[in-house]
Amino acid sequence: MGAVTGPRRGLHTVPVTERELLTAAARAAGLRLSAADVVALLPAWKRYLTLVEELRAAMAPEDTDAVG
């Protein structure tokens, strides 16, 4: 799994994989995931993030109008 955030050099950032991000998010939500859970959940989580981004983009014109 490739790094998705953070440059490879720098004092305050480290490479983080999607799997690590998911595990951290799950831990923050109080879930204890097994390795098998992570494997099963990762595709669904990525699809979820994509769908939410699409929803956000679709609502964006309304947001702009409201601010303007």
Partner: protein, 462 residues
């Protein structure tokens, strides 16, 4: 005089009439259903099949009938999806977690069925916690489609649809959060009604998504669904539908991107249903609702969050007590941010407003119930010329919009392809079930006759 065996597959209204005329005994009918249930155990329609209690209820009904008592469903065997609480009768919600739950009281809908004289005839199989559309239940068995046991009956009310179409009861109760009545109705070839949100009380019904859950009937005919709906809702839309005028009603046939990925045979049947309505004096035109494109994302965020809120404790402390697919869905839901849920509710309001606008120009909307016929059990993706789609997403793509909006929707069998039933879906305006059922009956009258599974030559008589 109809034989007991022929009545097992007859419309509920015919059964009611035969019972009232004392042409058949409810005990004999219950015995005939029981034999059929035993013979079709491989379909896994029931988690808790009807037992001696159901037979005693039939004996009581027989005594009442002999005294000349009446009741809308007196002596009629109704199977109940196993997420409606039944007093002192195991209610598992299709789960391992609740495998020993004996509710202290009936769900409101079960109480209404009993008050109308119905025999509560077993608890039907469902997708675990109703959270999925295959009814491939890891604890209580993989439910099978009566038309082809290699195929899925759909879900989550899969057991109820099987019981109706295989002649194991007179009618059944289901619930629908994203399509869980209409999807199995479509795949199994029976009628399924998801009424207006809130019309049927949900007290005592194990929830899945509070803002999306509906209860409703699965039945062999539209008339049967109307009778059951009247009992469940305490209203009279079913009765009214029989005298409602349909001439000149405006029907919109849904076009646009959301119905582009549909099996050609399914599209042809929707067009045939539209043509039939035109012949019967309705005004038919095409309509588009572009906002429906956002249904899948909106439904996914809403349902994941609501279901995980309900299961918050168990998914953190007993995750191994869930089947793999439901566990993954609940874990994902635990990661939904509050801001994402708000975003989905804003889009939901937009979809609802779009529907309201479209219904200014039409009285009813016509579309497929499901874009595909029954998939093979375990099949995960549908292959379209333009790419792949998850089977569970495809199955609810055309039903979930009406859970988000609360509009009443009816799935009606309309022909078959390769021996598998096709369902068309009719959607009405909020609280307009009477017209929905009236036009649904027209579609039913025009539908090609559906042969009952494994009983070549026996048709559903309407």
């Amino acid at each position: 005089m109809p034989s007991v065996e022929s009545l097992t597959s007859a419309p509920l209204v015919q059964i009611v009439s035969s019972l009232r005329r004392r042409q058949v005994s409810p005990v004999d009918l219950v015995d005939a259903y029981t034999k059929r249930i035993e013979a079709s155990a491989g379909l896994r329609a029931f988690i808790t099949p009807p037992d001696e209690r159901a037979r005693r209820e039939a004996q009581r009904a027989e005594r009442r009938l002999s005294r000349g008592e009446t009741g809308a469903l007196l002596g009629v065997a109704i199977a109940v999806k196993d997420l409606f609480a039944t007093r002192a009768l195991r209610t598992t919600v299709g789960s391992r977690i609740l495998r020993d739950w004996l509710p202290a009281r009936d769900a409101a809908v079960v109480a209404r069925l009993r008050a109308a004289g119905a025999i509560i005839f077993g608890k039907t199989n469902l997708h675990e916690f109703a959270y999925g559309v295959s009814t491939a239940n890891p604890w209580w068995g993989i439910a099978r489609n009566p038309h082809d046991p290699r195929r899925s009956p759909g879900g989550s009310s899969g057991g109820s649809a099987i019981a109706v179409i295989a002649g194991l009861c007179a009618g059944a109760l289901g619930s629908d959060t994203g399509g869980s009545i209409r999807v199995p109705a479509s795949l199994c070839g029976c009628v399924g009604l998801k009424p207006t949100f809130g019309v049927i009380p949900l007290a005592g019904t194990f929830p899945l998504g509070w803002s999306l859950d509906h209860a409703g009937p699965l039945a062999r005919t539209v008339d049967d669904a109307g009778v059951l709906f009247d009992v469940l809702s305490g209203g009279d839309a079913g009765r009214k539908s029989r005298r409602a005028s349909t001439r000149g009603l405006r029907v919109g046939v849904l076009r646009g991107s959301i119905v582009e990925l549909v099996q050609p045979a399914v599209s042809r049947q929707v067009d045939a249903a539209a043509a039939a309505l035109r012949r019967r004096g309705l005004r038919v035109r095409s309509v588009q609702i572009p906002e429906m494109e956002w249904t899948v994302a909106t439904q996914l965020v809403t349902l994941r969050a609501e279901a995980s809120a309900l299961h918050a404790r168990w998914i953190r402390t007993r995750s191994r007590a869930y089947g793999a697919d439901v566990r993954t869905r609940l874990q994902l839901g635990s990661l939904v941010a509050g801001a994402d849920y708000v975003l989905a509710q804003r889009m939901r309001a937009r979809i609802r407003a779009a529907m309201r606008r479209v219904f200014h120009d039409i009285d009813l909307l016509l579309l497929p119930s499901t874009p595909i016929t029954a998939p093979i059990v375990g099949e995960r993706t549908v292959r379209w010329p333009s790419g792949e789609e998850p089977v569970d997403g495809a199955l609810v793509r055309l039903t979930a919009p009406f859970n988000l909006t609360g509009l009443p929707a009816l799935s009606i069998p309309f022909g078959a392809t390769a021996g598998l039933p096709i369902g068309v879906q009719l959607v009405g305006l909020w609280n307009d079930e009477a017209r929905l059922l009236a036009v649904g009956r027209l579609i039913e009258e025009e539908a090609p006759t559906l042969t009952l599974p494994r009983e070549q030559g026996r048709k559903i008589s309407r």
